[in-house]
C-alpha cells in the first residue's frame, strides 16, 4: 500500500558515491563488500581489526568534534571505544555525515560497521537495519528563546516555524503534534538552535539530553518550555547482513553495564549514572 513510507527505505544510500557504481554494475549484492552472512557468533568488519563507526558529529553531549583537535568526542564516542575494547577491536571513526543518511549507509554496508548516533530504536529503523539493545534512555523537548511566552499549543500555528533535525524522532514528533506549524528540516541540531537564537525559527524540537546540555554549555539564551516524556531509547544500528556483530555488540553492552564502564561513561557526560 504505502510503498513510499519511511519504513521502506530502498536499498542502499546513493549519497555514497560507491553505491552508484555498485548499483549500476551488480543488482544482487549492491555495495555489500564485507557483509556476507556470518555464522553464529561470528561477524565481519569493514576494516580488519577495527570497529568502524559513523555518526552525525553535531549532537552534543552524545557526539561532537573537539574544537581544537577536530577529533570526535562525546558519550557515544566513549561508548564506542569501550565497545571496541570489550570486543578486542580498535575503534575507527569516519567523518561526520547527515543524520538521515546514517541508516541507508549502514543498510548498504561496506562503509561502516555501526552507526552510533543517539539514534532512537524505532520500528521504521528496525525495518531497515538491526538495532542493538538499548544503551541509554531519552525524551523529547521543545526549546525556545529565553523569556518567550510560547507554549506547545501556541506553537501549533501556521505562522510558527519549528526547526528540527531531518530524519529524527524529534522531527516525527513535530509532524505529528504540531501539524499546523511550518517545519524546517535542518542538517544538525546546532543549526536549529542557532536559528532559534537568532530569531529565524520559533522553536526547536529535539532530544532532551541534547537540549539540556546545549543550554547549559553554550545556548544560555534559550530555554526548554516542555519536557516531553516519550521514553524512547537509543540503540546502535548494524546491518541486517551482520547479525553476529549485533550479537557481539549486545554482549559487549551487557558486559559494560556489568563491569561499571557504562556507569563511568554516564558519570563523565551526565554527572551521574543514569
Amino acid at each position: 500500500m504505502s510503498m513510499l513510507s519511511r519504513r521502506q527505505f530502498v536499498q542502499g544510500s546513493s549519497l555514497v558515491a560507491a553505491t552508484l557504481l555498485a548499483g549500476c554494475g551488480s543488482s544482487g549484492n549492491s555495495g555489500s563488500g564485507a557483509a556476507a552472512p556470518a555464522a553464529d557468533g561470528e561477524y565481519t568488519v569493514v576494516n580488519e581489526g577495527k570497529l568502524t563507526c559513523i555518526s552525525n558529529l553535531f549532537f552534543p553531549p552524545f557526539e561532537s568534534m573537539n574544537e581544537t583537535t577536530g577529533e570526535p568526542e562525546g558519550f557515544d564516542i566513549d561508548v564506542s571505544k569501550s565497545l571496541a575494547e570489550h570486543m578486542g577491536l580498535e575503534v575507527n571513526w569516519l567523518p561526520s555525515q547527515d543524520f538521515d543518511t546514517l541508516v541507508p549507509t549502514i543498510k548498504n554496508g561496506g562503509k561502516a560497521d555501526i552507526a552510533i548516533a543517539g539514534m532512537t530504536i524505532t520500528d521504521a529503523r528496525k525495518a531497515e537495519v538491526d538495532m542493538s539493545d538499548p544503551y541509554v534512555d531519552s525524551n523529547q523537548s521543545i526549546v525556545v528563546k529565553a523569556g518567550s511566552t510560547e507554549t506547545a499549543d501556541s506553537l501549533n500555528d501556521a505562522s510558527k516555524k519549528i526547526a528540527v533535525q531531518g530524519g529524527t524522532t524529534g522531527a516525527d514528533w513535530a509532524d505529528e503534534n504540531l501539524p499546523n506549524a511550518e517545519k524546517k528540516r535542518l542538517s544538525t541540531v546546532i543549526d536549529a538552535m542557532s536559528g532559534v537564537q537568532s530569531g529565524l525559527y520559533d522553536a526547536v524540537v529535539c532530544d532532551l539530553p541534547v537540549s539540556r546540555y546545549q543550554i547549559k554549555m553554550s545556548y544560555s539564551d534559550l530555554q526548554i518550555i516542555e519536557e516531553i516524556p516519550t521514553g524512547e531509547q537509543y540503540g546502535i544500528a548494524v546491518s541486517k547482513d551482520n547479525p553476529g556483530l549485533t550479537a557481539a555488540i549486545n554482549k559487549a553492552l551487557a558486559e559494560m553495564k556489568e563491569d561499571g564502564s557504562m556507569a563511568a561513561i554516564e558519570n563523565e557526560w551526565f554527572g551521574s549514572a543514569l
Binding site: S14, T19, S27, P104, D175, E176, S194, G199, L200, G231
Partner: protein, 465 residues
C-alpha cells in the same frame, strides 16, 4: 476512592486547578481513573502532512493514571471502518521522564485493541501506546479514539480523545497506489539503481510537491537579477573611475564578495542580521543575498566588457567633442551590453542554481522540498526530480546563449550572413569567441595582458587572429 461516588464537583476540587482544566474539556463525563492526555497520528501522506484514512500509519495514545488508581488493562476503540489488524504496539510506561518496567501484551481485533499489563499500572504513571500499522477509516474526517479500561472496580469507559483530522485518499495518492500495484513498476524498482534514482511513485509525488519550491527559486532569481545588474553596473563604473577612493571601494566590494563562498555569505546574512535585531522575511533576504552576490560577478563582467571596447572609440568620441558620460552612455555601454549578454546569461544560470544554497537556512525552495521528501522516503528520486526542474530553465537558456553568441559573432564581423555563408560564419564565430573569451578572461582577472592586446587589434583583423 472513586470520584463517581463523591460527585463531580468534589472531584474537580480535589484534582486541583490543572486537572480542572482537563476535566472541563471532558465536561459531561464523570472523572476518570485513567485520563486521556492525547491521541495523535503520524502523517502518512507522501510529500504532505495529512493523515490519510485506509493507509497504514502510527497512532500514539497517551493517558495518565490518577491518584489511588490501578489500571490492569486498556482497550482502545476506533470508529467503524478503522482497523488495528496487523498492527504492532509499543507500550511505554513513564514516571516523569524515566521509564518504568511494565510489560504488556497487545491484541488487535478489528476496531479494538486490548492491552493487558502484567502488573497493574499505579497512580502517577504515564501510559504511552504507539500502535504501528493501524488504519483510520478510509473516507477521512475527524476521528475520535475511545475505548475502555479496567481498574480495581471493573471496566470503565475511557474518555474520548480530541479528534484527529484525517483525509480521504487524494488523486496523487491514488496514482501512487496504482503505481505500487503495477508489475512494470515492481520490476523497475527491483533494479537498485533505477529504484534508488528513478522510482516512478516518488517521481510522481516529487513533481507534484516540488512545484512551489521551483516557483520560489525562479521568483527569487528573477527579482534579484535586475537589482544585481544595476548594482553591478555601478560598481563596474566605479572600478574604472579616475577617483582612487571609488576604485578602492569597488575593488573591496568585488573582491570580498567574489573571494568568499556564497554559502558563507548566506550564513552571515541569515544568522547575523536577526542577531542585530534586523528581521527581514526569509524570502526577501534570499533575494538580497543573491542580488548582492551576483552584482560582484556582474561588475567584473561589465568592467571587462567596457574595457574590451577599443581605445580608439574613446579617442574618436573625444575628437567629436563628446564628454566622458556622453561617450560612456552613447558609445561604449551600448556596445558593451551586446558583448556581455552571453556572459551575463551564464551568470544568471549560475545565480539560479545558487538559490539551492538557500535551502541550508530554511528557505522553502526547490532543494528544500527535495531534501524533505528524501529524508522521509530514504530515496534519491526527489533529487532527480529537482534536477529536472533546474534543467527545464537552464537548458533553454544555455541554448539561447549559444544562439546569441553566434549572432554577435556575425555582427562583430560587421554584418549579417554573407553570400558565402559558411566561411564568413566560421571566421566570425572565431572572432566573437575571441572577444567573448577576453571578457571571460577579464572577468576572471587572470589574463589582463590578453585583453589589451586584443583591443589594439582593429576589429576587422580580430577575426583573422
Amino acid at each position: 476512592m472513586s470520584y463517581d461516588k463523591r460527585g463531580k464537583a468534589f472531584g474537580l476540587h480535589a484534582l486541583g486547578v490543572a486537572m480542572a482544566l482537563l476535566l472541563v474539556l471532558l465536561a459531561p463525563a464523570s472523572a476518570f481513573a485513567l485520563t486521556t492526555n492525547k491521541a495523535t497520528a503520524r502523517p502518512n501522506e507522501n510529500g504532505g502532512s495529512g493523515v490519510i484514512g485506509g493507509l497504514a500509519t502510527r497512532l500514539t495514545w497517551e493517558g495518565t493514571v490518577e491518584e489511588g488508581e490501578e489500571v490492569s488493562s486498556v482497550t482502545l476503540a476506533l470508529p467503524e471502518g478503522g482497523t488495528f489488524d496487523g498492527s504492532t504496539t509499543k507500550i511505554t510506561v513513564l514516571e516523569g521522564l524515566s521509564r518504568a518496567q511494565v510489560e504488556g501484551t497487545a491484541t488487535p481485533a478489528g476496531t479494538q485493541l486490548s492491552i493487558e499489563f502484567s502488573t497493574p499500572i499505579t497512580s502517577g504513571y504515564l501510559l504511552r501506546l504507539e500502535v504501528e500499522g493501524m488504519k483510520f477509516p478510509a473516507d477521512g474526517g475527524d476521528v475520535v479514539v475511545g475505548g475502555t479500561y479496567v481498574n480495581q472496580k471493573g471496566e470503565q469507559t475511557l474518555a474520548d480523545s480530541k479528534p484527529i483530522a484525517t483525509i480521504a485518499n487524494t488523486p496523487l495518492q491514488a496514482l501512487v497506489a496504482s503505481l505500487d500495484e503495477a508489475p512494470w513498476v515492481q520490476a523497475w524498482n527491483s533494479n537498485p539503481f533505477l529504484g534508488m534514482f528513478f522510482k516512478p511513485q516518488l517521481l510522481a509525488t516529487a513533481f507534484a510537491t516540488l512545484v512551489p519550491g521551483w516557483l520560489l527559486c525562479l521568483l527569487i532569481v528573477v527579482i534579484a537579477y535586475p537589482f544585481a545588474i544595476a548594482l553591478g553596473l555601478i560598481f563596474a563604473l566605479m572600478k574604472i573611475s579616475k577617483h582612487r577612493i571609488l576604485r578602492f571601494i569597488a575593488t573591496l566590494y568585488i573582491n570580498v564578495l567574489r573571494g568568499t563562498p556564497l554559502f558563507l555569505q548566506i550564513y552571515i546574512m541569515f544568522f547575523g542580521l536577526p542577531m542585530m535585531n534586523i528581521n527581514i522575511d526569509n524570502n526577501v533576504l534570499g533575494v538580497i543575498v543573491i542580488a548582492i552576490n551576483a552584482s560582484a560577478y556582474l561588475a567584473e563582467i561589465f568592467r571587462a566588457g567596457i574595457q574590451s571596447i577599443p581605445q580608439g572609440q574613446y579617442e574618436a568620441a573625444s575628437s567629436l567633442g563628446m564628454s566622458y558620460f556622453q561617450t560612456m552612455f552613447d558609445i561604449i555601454l551600448p556596445q558593451t551590453i551586446r558583448r556581455v549578454i552571453p556572459t551575463v546569461t551564464s551568470d544568471f544560470i549560475t545565480s539560479y542554481k545558487d538559490t539551492s544554497l538557500l535551502s541550508s537556512v530554511g528557505v522553502m525552495e526547490l532543494m528544500m522540498f527535495a531534501k524533505n521528501l528524501t529524508s522521509v522516503s530514504g530515496n534519491m528520486t526527489p533529487y532527480v526530480a529537482a534536477a529536472i526542474f533546474y534543467l527545464i530553465v537552464t537548458l533553454p537558456l544555455i541554448k539561447a546563449v549559444s544562439i546569441v553568441e553566434e549572432r554577435i559573432a556575425n555582427s562583430e564581423r560587421g554584418g549579417g550572413p554573407r553570400p558565402k555563408g559558411k566561411q564568413a560564419k566560421t571566421a566570425g564565430v572565431a572572432g566573437a569567441k575571441l572577444s567573448e573569451l577576453a571578457v571571460h578572461a577579464e572577468a576572471r582577472n587572470d589574463a589582463d595582458v590578453f585583453a589589451p592586446a586584443l583591443n589594439t587589434i582593429p576589429s576587422g583583423l580580430a577575426s583573422e587572429v
